[in-house]
C-alpha cells in the first residue's frame, strides 16, 4: 500500500523541474467592491492573472501610470491593505480536455458538479483573435433546432450567429435548450453558458439535460448571479474557448450564451468600479467590442483548417420589447440574423412566440435541406397572407369564401407551428407535417384538434410509411416519387380518421 502511494507520487513528480521564479510584485493600496488597487507590479501584462493572498486570483485590467487596478475573481475576506500580490506570468486560460463534456464548470475550469477535477490536456486562452477571413468557408450545413418555425422559415446553419431576442418570459432559454436537445445524434457538441442566472435554474437545466441524455455531448459553463462580476464577465469567453478546443479537432460546436444582457451589465459594473469613463446608459465605451470579439470567434473553417464550426446563439433580453435600446442594437448588428420573440404572441398561446415577420436569418436557405426549402416557401406565403387578413378574422362570417379559406388555411398552418420546447422534431417529420399543412390536408380539421391530428399522422407515417421519411432525410429533396407517396399516405390517413373534422 505504502509502496504504491510512493510510486504514484514519484510518477507525478517525475520530470518536474522547479526553478527559481521571477515575478513582479506589488502592494495593495486600496481594496473594496471586488477591486484591489495595487502599487508596483511594474512588469504586469494587460489581462494577466494576479495572485493575491493564498488562493485568490485577480485580473490586472487597469494598467495606469501609478497603479494597477486588479479585479478579484473570487471573494476573499483575508486580504488587507499592504498585502503583497504577484504576477503569475499567465494570461487567463481555461484547462480543457475531452473529459470536460458532461461537466458543469466555472469560467476558470473548476468543477461545479461535485465530481473530480477535469484532467487537463491543454490550456485555451480566454482572449483570442478570431480566425481570419482566408481560413473561413461559407455556411452551408444546416444546424437543425428541431423547432418547426425556425427550421422552416429562419433556418440556422453551422457557423452562423443567430440572436434570440425578446422580453423576459417569452421562451428564449427554451429555444436554446430545445436546440441542445435536438443535437442528439447530430454530431454537434453543445456548450451552454449561463451568465448571471439563478443557481436553481442551472441545476434544473442540468437535470433536464441529463434526463434527456444530452449531457453526453454538452458542457455547461456557469457564472451565476451571486458570483463576482468578473466571473460573469469571463463566462462567455470561457465558453467559446472550450468550443475552440473542439473546433481545433474539426468538430461542429454549438454555443449558447444565456444571456448577453447580463454579461454587459457585469462588464458595466467592473468598468464603473475601475473608474473607466462611461457612455450611453452608463455602459463603458467598449461594450460593442466586448460582444463583437466574442461573437466573431463563431465561424466555419475551411477544410485546410480542420473544417469544424462554432455556431453561436446569443440571447438578449429586451425591456418592454425595445429592440432599439443600446445593447440590443449592438448585438443585432453583430449577428447574422435574429429570432424575435414577442410577449403578445406568447400570451395568445403561440409557443414558440416567434414573430416570423420581424425575424430573419441572413444565411437563409443556403443552410436548409432542399426538401425543407421546397415546403417552406409555400408555408411562408400562406402565413404572410394570413397575417395580412388577420384583422378580418373577427368578421369571418361576413367574408367571401376565398378569404375565409385563406384565413382557415393560415390559422391551421400557424397552429401546426406550435410546439413544446422540450419536444424537438426531426427534420424529416417537420417536412412531412408542413407538406400536409400547406397542401390542404388540415383544411377540414377543427383548430383545437390540429395537435392531435399531427401526433396521429406522424405515428401513422412512422409505422406504415417509414420509407417516405427516410427517403426525405436521405435524398434531402422531395422527388416526384416521394411526393406521390406522401399524397397517397395522407389521403389514406384522411379517409381512416374523420373524428377531428
Amino acid at each position: 500500500m505504502k509502496q504504491s502511494l510512493l510510486s504514484v507520487l514519484e510518477q507525478q513528480l517525475d520530470g518536474l523541474s522547479l526553478d527559481a521564479t521571477k515575478r513582479s510584485v506589488g502592494k495593495i493600496v486600496s481594496f473594496g467592491d471586488g477591486i484591489a488597487t495595487v502599487d508596483g507590479l511594474d512588469q504586469v501584462m494587460s489581462g494577466e492573472l494576479i495572485v493575491l493572498g493564498k488562493n485568490t486570483y485577480g485580473l490586472a485590467l487597469n494598467l495606469k501610470a501609478d497603479h494597477v487596478g486588479v479585479v478579484l475573481l473570487s471573494e476573499d475576506r483575508d486580504l488587507r491593505v499592504g498585502d503583497t500580490v504577484s504576477t503569475t506570468g499567465r494570461l487567463l486560460s481555461i484547462g480543457v480536455s475531452d473529459q470536460i463534456i458532461g461537466r458543469v464548470v466555472d469560467p476558470l475550469g473548476a468543477p461545479l458538479d461535485a465530481k473530480p477535477p477535469i484532467k487537463i490536456k491543454s490550456y485555451e486562452a480566454l482572449e483570442k483573435i478570431a480566425p481570419g477571413v482566408i481560413t473561413r468557408k461559407s455556411v452551408t450545413v444546416p444546424l437543425q433546432t428541431g423547432i418547426k418555425a425556425i427550421d422552416a422559415m429562419i433556418p440556422i446553419g453551422r457557423g452562423q450567429r443567430e440572436l434570440i431576442i425578446g422580453d423576459r418570459g417569452t421562451g428564449k432559454s427554451a429555444i436554446g435548450l430545445g436546440t441542445i436537445l435536438n443535437q442528439k445524434g447530430q454530431n454537434v457538441i453543445c456548450v451552454y453558458v449561463a451568465i448571471g442566472q439563478k443557481r436553481s435554474f442551472v441545476a434544473q437545466t442540468t437535470a433536464v439535460l441529463e434526463k434527456a441524455g444530452a449531457m453526453d455531448y454538452t458542457v455547461i459553463v456557469s457564472a451565476s448571479a451571486s458570483d463576482s462580476a468578473a466571473m460573469q464577465f469571463l463566462a462567455p469567453y470561457a465558453g467559446v474557448s472550450v468550443a475552440e478546443f473542439f473546433l481545433k479537432q474539426g468538430k461542429d460546436v454549438l454555443v449558447i450564451y444565456d444571456d448577453l444582457s447580463k454579461h454587459a451589465v457585469a462588464y458595466r459594473e467592473i468598468s464603473l468600479l475601475l473608474r473607466r469613463p462611461s457612455g450611453r446608459e452608463a455602459y463603458p465605451g467598449d461594450v460593442f467590442y466586448l460582444h463583437s470579439r466574442l461573437l466573431e470567434r463563431a465561424c466555419r473553417l475551411n477544410d485546410d483548417n480542420g473544417g469544424g464550426s462554432i455556431t453561436a446563439l446569443p440571447i438578449i433580453e429586451t425591456q418592454a420589447s425595445d429592440v432599439s435600446a443600446y445593447i440590443p442594437t449592438n448585438v443585432i448588428s453583430i449577428t447574422d440574423g435574429q429570432i424575435y420573440l414577442e410577449a403578445d404572441l406568447f400570451n395568445a398561446g403561440v409557443k414558440p412566440a416567434i414573430n416570423v415577420g420581424l425575424s430573419v436569418s441572413r444565411v437563409g436557405s443556403a443552410a436548409q435541406l432542399k426538401s425543407m426549402k421546397q415546403v417552406a416557401g409555400k408555408m411562408r406565403l400562406d402565413l404572410a397572407q394570413y397575417r395580412e387578413l388577420a384583422a378580418f378574422a373577427q368578421f369571418s362570417s361576413d367574408l367571401d369564401t376565398k378569404t375565409k379559406a385563406q384565413l382557415d388555411r393560415g390559422a391551421r398552418v400557424a397552429t401546426i407551428l406550435n410546439q413544446q420546447w422540450d419536444e424537438p422534431m426531426p427534420v424529416e417529420e417537420q417536412v412531412a407535417v408542413i407538406y400536409a399543412a400547406s397542401n390542404g390536408y388540415l383544411d377540414g380539421i377543427k383548430l383545437e384538434q390540429v395537435k392531435k391530428w399531427e401526433e396521429a399522422a406522424l405515428d401513422y407515417l412512422k409505422s406504415s410509411h417509414s420509407s417516405i421519411l427516410s427517403s426525405i432525410k436521405k435524398e434531402a429533396k422531395i422527388t416526384e416519387e416521394t411526393d406521390k407517396q406522401l399524397k397517397s399516405a395522407f389521403a389514406t390517413f384522411a379517409t381512416t380518421h374523420t373524428e377531428w373534422r
Binding site: A20, T21, K22, R23, S24, V25, G26, D42, Q43
Partner: protein, 71 residues
C-alpha cells in the same frame, strides 16, 4: 534608475557574513547598489527570496511547493 530601487532579501534564518558578502557583490554587479535590507521570514521554509524594486526572485521552498499546485 536601478540604484533607487530598494532590495529586500528574505531568508529563513539570518544570513551569515560570508553569504552577505556574496550577495552584496552580486547585487552590485546586477543592480548597481550593494545595500540591501534583510528580513527573516520563517514561512519561506528554506531558500531565499530577493525583491529588487517590484521584481521578485523566488528561490524559496514555499515558492517551489506552490508551483506544484496547478490552476
Amino acid at each position: 534608475m536601478s540604484s533607487s530601487k530598494s532590495v529586500v532579501v528574505e531568508s529563513v534564518i539570518p544570513l551569515s557574513a560570508e553569504q552577505k558578502r556574496v550577495l552584496s557583490s552580486l547585487l552590485k554587479a546586477r543592480v548597481g547598489s550593494e545595500k540591501f535590507t534583510e528580513k527573516v521570514n520563517p514561512t519561506l521554509l528554506g531558500g531565499l527570496r530577493v525583491s529588487i524594486g517590484t521584481t521578485q526572485y523566488d528561490m524559496s521552498l514555499t515558492g517551489k511547493l506552490s508551483q506544484l499546485r496547478n490552476i
